[in-house]
Symmetry: C2
Subunit: 376 residues, 2 copies
């Protein structure tokens, strides 16, 4: 344990890196996947179960928590860790992305964003200063700068103006964050799919100085090929001795491609959301448990998986409880998906340490290409 936030790089393989982020609340093995606990819960999971799947850190959503139950209430109750019974690291986003995608009647100015709650219509303001205040009230270990992210496609001029606003907000975030030993503040690179703008953004952030750097503004509908084309250069613009975080990614093959390109941290709702819609992720790809071909299948989702859903239940059972609308379907499929994601991260970390990432990735793609087991 440590009372400071720091990052140790253990090994690299090509551009891929493996390391450890040290925080007072515990270590984060990188590359790390962060399950999303939007409203102070990773949906359908107890936090000890999330930990059992291999999670070192969770993500909380500032936008949702500020509206309900409110950051001030969580602070009075002892902070987000205690509130949600998770004593390991928590990263909170800034609210910037979600206020633009979820809130109603939003108005963007230099100061910040005024908006109405999607829950009850109440009026709120998010700015760099307010976002820092909320994330401090929550007790977040890794705080994200308040930024603005235009939807793609957008003209280069719109992307440039937005990026420069985000860089001014990054400075205001840094100033408002102050000096909080043991807590980290991450800057967020913007610039869309334009290399020059990504470079300008990286220089602006490095001039301010952060504990880690996110690649923002991707995974917003641009497609994997475009995302990878940006990741071919964007992470390399950021300091090599700090963690690099790709926000909102992704599917297993997105994750593998991002790690190959030098990303250390990722988050996504996909494994938990998929669990609730009957989609399982396995080394063989995606399995739709709703499909009638599973109705009589006594085999587990994946006979090599050690999660509770695969150890103790048949596809036939998972199909039945999903069709019957039973909560246990969401519980078991979410558990499986998070287990698979973290097993994939562990595989990536091991391969980078061993210098065998290319072989690992080739095997990853070969298993997926072979597809799911045939019906009995």
């Amino acid at each position: 344990m440590t009372d400071r936030f720091s990052f140790t790089l253990h090994a690299t393989d090509g551009k891929a890196r493996t390391g450890t982020i040290h925080t007072p609340r515990g270590e984060i093995r990188t590359p790390a996947f962060m399950p999303v606990g939007t409203a102070a819960t990773v949906k359908a999971m107890l936090p000890e179960s999330v930990r059992a799947t291999g999670a070192d850190i969770l993500l909380g959503n500032t936008y949702h928590l500020m509206l309900r139950p409110t950051a001030e209430r969580i602070a009075r109750l002892g902070g987000l860790h205690r509130f949600m019974n998770w004593d390991r690291p928590i990263l909170t986003d800034s609210g910037g992305f979600q206020v633009m995608s979820l809130a109603a009647l939003r108005k963007l100015t230099e100061e910040g964003v005024r908006f109405s709650s999607h829950i009850d219509g109440s009026k709120h303001m998010l700015s760099p200063e307010r976002s820092m205040e909320i994330q401090k009230l929550l007790g977040s270990d890794i705080v994200m700068c308040f930024d603005e992210c235009p939807a793609l496609p957008a003209t280069e001029e719109v992307v440039a103006q937005s990026m420069r606003l985000s860089m001014r907000w990054a400075q205001r975030s840094r100033d408002a964050f102050g000096d909080r030993p043991g807590h980290a503040l991450f800057g967020i690179q913007q610039g869309g799919v334009t290399e020059d703008l990504r470079g300008e953004s990286a220089e602006a952030l490095k001039a301010i100085g952060f504990d880690g750097y996110a690649v923002g503004g991707l995974a917003v509908g641009e497609g994997q090929e475009t995302m990878f084309s940006v990741l071919d250069y964007a992470p390399g613009m950021l300091p090599a001795d700090k963690p690099r975080y790709l926000m909102g990614v992704g599917k297993p093959d997105d994750i593998v491609g991002a790690v190959q390109r030098g990303i250390d941290m990722m988050d996504c709702v996909l494994p938990s959301r998929s669990g609730r819609t009957g989609q399982a992720w396995t080394r063989r790809g995606q399995v739709n448990i709703k499909n009638a071909r599973h109705m009589d299948d006594p085999r587990p989702l994946d006979e090599a998986c050690t999660c509770p859903a695969c150890r103790s239940y048949s596809r036939a059972y998972l199909h039945h409880v999903f069709r019957a609308g039973e909560i246990i379907a969401s519980m078991l499929l979410t558990w499986h998906n998070l287990h698979y994601y973290h097993e994939l991260m562990e595989g990536l970390r091991g391969a980078i340490r061993a210098g065998t990432l290319d072989a690992f990735v080739a095997d990853f793609h070969a298993q997926r290409a072979a597809g799911d087991i045939a019906p009995l």
Copy 2:
């Protein structure tokens, strides 16, 4: 372990009894509460968690399972225990009660009940012979006779005719069940709220001979006072050396009153259903977690309770996740309710053994009368 079904009485206190039901799949401590796993899951719980709350046995619903995923499918998949990952005893009802309350277009004849599924409208028949066949396909440890139960209030003539039909069906159930060592068949006493009819029913069942006897036709809207007035005499009409099972009961004070009157087994959806609607049962009575008075309350539901919901979460958290529609609210409240129910059963068993049931019951009522803790 044993390869036979048997019942050992350990102690009595007044009419109350404590004992052990021995089955090849494990022992059942009585008085026992049986959580309901309608569609092959106790809603919002993993089976190992249900066991951790203190459950020795679950109840499965023949009506639901015969329609989806079907008894034949469960049999092909190795039986209900394996299907739902519960290796301890399972009691299945006969389908008789639920076909009359849930199915559409039902037609009752001497042969049985023809009906249409409430799920897909498909046509089915339930009879004593078909109910025995289904419960055998499921692999149930304790099989219930197929019976008919008129809604109360009903005229004495209707109740008498219905009871006599159920007694003819009890004989047919016994004949169809055959000899299945290690599996038990329970008869069901009917007769409404009429002592003579209850007596006639008990004599008919004893003449046939069963491994246990249920008091049926109660907890169908007649109210606690009427139910207790029947329980003042009905259990005593049944053999003292066999388990006595009160079907579909109940609230904690119903359970306590039933145990005082000589009941050994009960089942009810209440602790799990309440958990999903935001109702918690504690030694202080019922707590509605939706109520705004819990919004800022850092205290657990019950500071003396050792369940995960009380050990690790505040009322404020439970209120928040319930209001936010999060699945974890159902998971935690159901866990708490089942834990409380089984703790109550353990208390009752201990008091009967110690000969201190009156004091235990007085304390139970005193704690409830004092009510929930005041808001902060």
